[in-house]
């Protein structure tokens, strides 16, 4: 498996090429644009045998992908921030029509004020659209996750779209070593997309269509809910199969780092987890028992796994790079909800809002949070790194 120095956006492009996507439709937006550039070049040079559909907006890009997918093509798009927000309506069409589209979303803040830096608010605002959501920690995971995403999405028991998240600049524009699987390995792992149902001019079928209250609307939504449950199982299984095919460590819903005997753990998603691993190493070096829970999959949310963590660790801190106004950090809310109904003693759960709009989060900041968690300080909601007097 050749190891190459790739930016996160290049890793997306290479993974989509290896996945042999058949239709790519996307609209450029910083910091996602180099993904589309990479794929446009791949299509232009015939490295990727796909139709590249240029469109006037992200809304149309997703519409093109939905059309391609119901026709039986493997479809891909990429976006970020305002582009994802503009796509919102079509995200429901993609999941509701059960189209297994894979989309890369480069996590970026929403304006105003204009800000092109990392922030998870864009994707967290789409958590109820029926898409799976997977957050990559490194460019290696970007590559691995895009390939796994197609396998899970196209599984006949799932048939739901997948959003793969990578942090603006910290992953999208940062070059890191990536093991790139060869084409034969990927072809064996990811066979061609062959859906049971597809638009066929010779057959009578309904796609989308119309349902009055008494017909099938609620049943279709119930079917989506159960498909999400199966997706959770398939995510773990496909992670193991990818590991067997490539020799890379298996990726699941969440994973643990140095949690043995931990008195306090942090939960983090995206590249924050990478920085948190350094903070854990520093504290473990000083004899402090702390660990990290890296949340990889946010939708479907790993409720049972989080409940199990609650029985093992007395203090849990949650890092959120987004905020739901009038409620709180999105991940912290889910973690607290997951722990409801557990017998006491329940763990203390602290919520930390960090790194909005690309505000730098350094290992030393997280070391401080760990030290406070060890003292039993688990705030209901605390914003970390605010400038004073602003």
């Amino acid at each position: 498996m050749p190891r190459q120095l790739l930016s996160g956006n290049q890793a997306v492009g290479e993974a989509v090429r290896l996945a042999r996507a058949q239709v790519v439709s996307a609209y450029p937006i910083t910091p996602q644009t180099t993904i589309v550039e990479h794929l446009a070049e791949a299509v232009g040079s015939h490295a990727l045998d796909a139709d590249f559909i240029t469109v006037e907006s992200e809304h149309s890009a997703m519409a093109a992908c939905v059309g391609a997918s119901v026709a039986g093509a493997r479809a891909f798009t990429a976006t970020s921030s305002q582009g994802l927000a503009l796509m919102h309506e079509m995200l429901h069409w993609a999941s509701g029509q059960r189209t297994p589209i894979v989309m890369a979303n480069v996590n970026r803040a929403l304006a105003p004020p204009w800000n092109i830096w990392v922030d998870h608010s864009d994707s967290m605002a789409q958590r109820d659209t029926g898409w799976l959501q997977i957050y990559a920690e490194t460019n290696q995971e970007v590559m691995d996750t895009v390939l796994q995403a197609y396998r899970v999405a196209e599984d006949p028991t799932v048939m739901l779209p997948v959003m793969v998240m990578l942090d603006a600049f910290l992953l999208s524009h940062t070059y890191m070593p990536v093991d790139v699987p060869d084409e034969a390995t990927v072809d064996a792992f990811l066979p061609a997309f062959s859906p049971r149902d597809r638009v066929d001019p010779g057959a009578t079928q309904l796609f989308g269509s119309f349902s009055p209250p008494s017909l099938c609307f609620m049943e279709l939504r119930h079917a989506m809910a159960r498909a999400m449950d199966r997706a959770q199982v398939r995510l773990v299984e496909v992670g193991k199969e990818y590991s067997q095919a490539t020799g890379r460590p298996p990726l699941g819903l969440l994973d643990e780092y140095r949690t043995e005997g931990a008195d306090a753990v942090l939960i983090a998603a995206g590249s924050l987890a990478a920085t948190a691993r350094d903070a854990v190493d520093r504290l473990r070096h000083d004899g402090k028992k702390v660990g990290l829970i890296r949340l990889r999959v946010f939708r479907p949310f790993p409720t049972e796994q989080v409940r199990a963590l609650g029985r093992r660790f007395p203090v849990i801190g949650v890092l959120d790079r987004s905020f739901s106004y009038g409620s709180g950090g999105a991940i912290a809310s889910e973690v607290r909800a997951s722990l409801q109904g557990e017998r006491s003693p329940r763990p203390k759960v602290g919520s930390f809002i960090v790194g909005l709009g690309g505000r730098d989060v350094r290992p030393e900041h997280l070391v401080k949070l760990y030290r406070r968690l060890l003292e039993g300080h688990a705030p209901g909601e605390e914003w970390v790194g605010l400038r004073e007097g602003t």
């Binding site: 120095l5 600049f169 910290l170 070059y175 990478a274 290992p363």
Partner: protein, 205 residues
Amino acid sequence: MGTAPAPAPLPGGRDIFEVRFHGRGGQGVVIASVVLAEAAFLEGRGVQAFPFFGVERRGAPVVAHTRIGSGEIRLACDVEQPDALIITDPSLVGTVAQGSLQALRPGGIALLNSTHRPEELGLTEPSQGTRVVSFDASSLARQHGLGSAASPIVNTVVLGAFAKLTGLVKWPSLRQAIEEKVPVKREANVAAAQAAFESVGEVAS
């Protein structure tokens, strides 16, 4: 993969050696950061390269970074205190150099593209053991036909000089990295970088 001999310790015994480039948009500063990372990667080190996370435009001041580690690098945050500073554009020497030097880690090294000596530029070494070196990269780039006479592209030239000054990467790996990662005028870039490598003195680290 994993068969190369263990690389030598990093300058100053650092676990992670951080380099900051200052230049102008369109001069290949981001490519320089990737080439340096690639060279170190070829020597078996952990690496990262990234632009300043900003809105780069042709002609505007641009910052890029390379992290080189004795092992895998996981950090996903800004470079706060670089071990080395490379200023590729002479017009930036006056505006950003003194401020940037203050950010340099004590004992670090700064390489300026300038026809003037640092003391002529009023640049003082910010702390004991810190080295400030100037080098006329623009003339060398012009001689090799890189960029135009008015705005030479000096990115590979400064890397040649930097590699020699610091010993951070060896010439064969830098050469291979330039061949792999520089999109235009590969032969001229290699020749110019080699000329720079051979024309500056080594600074013990």
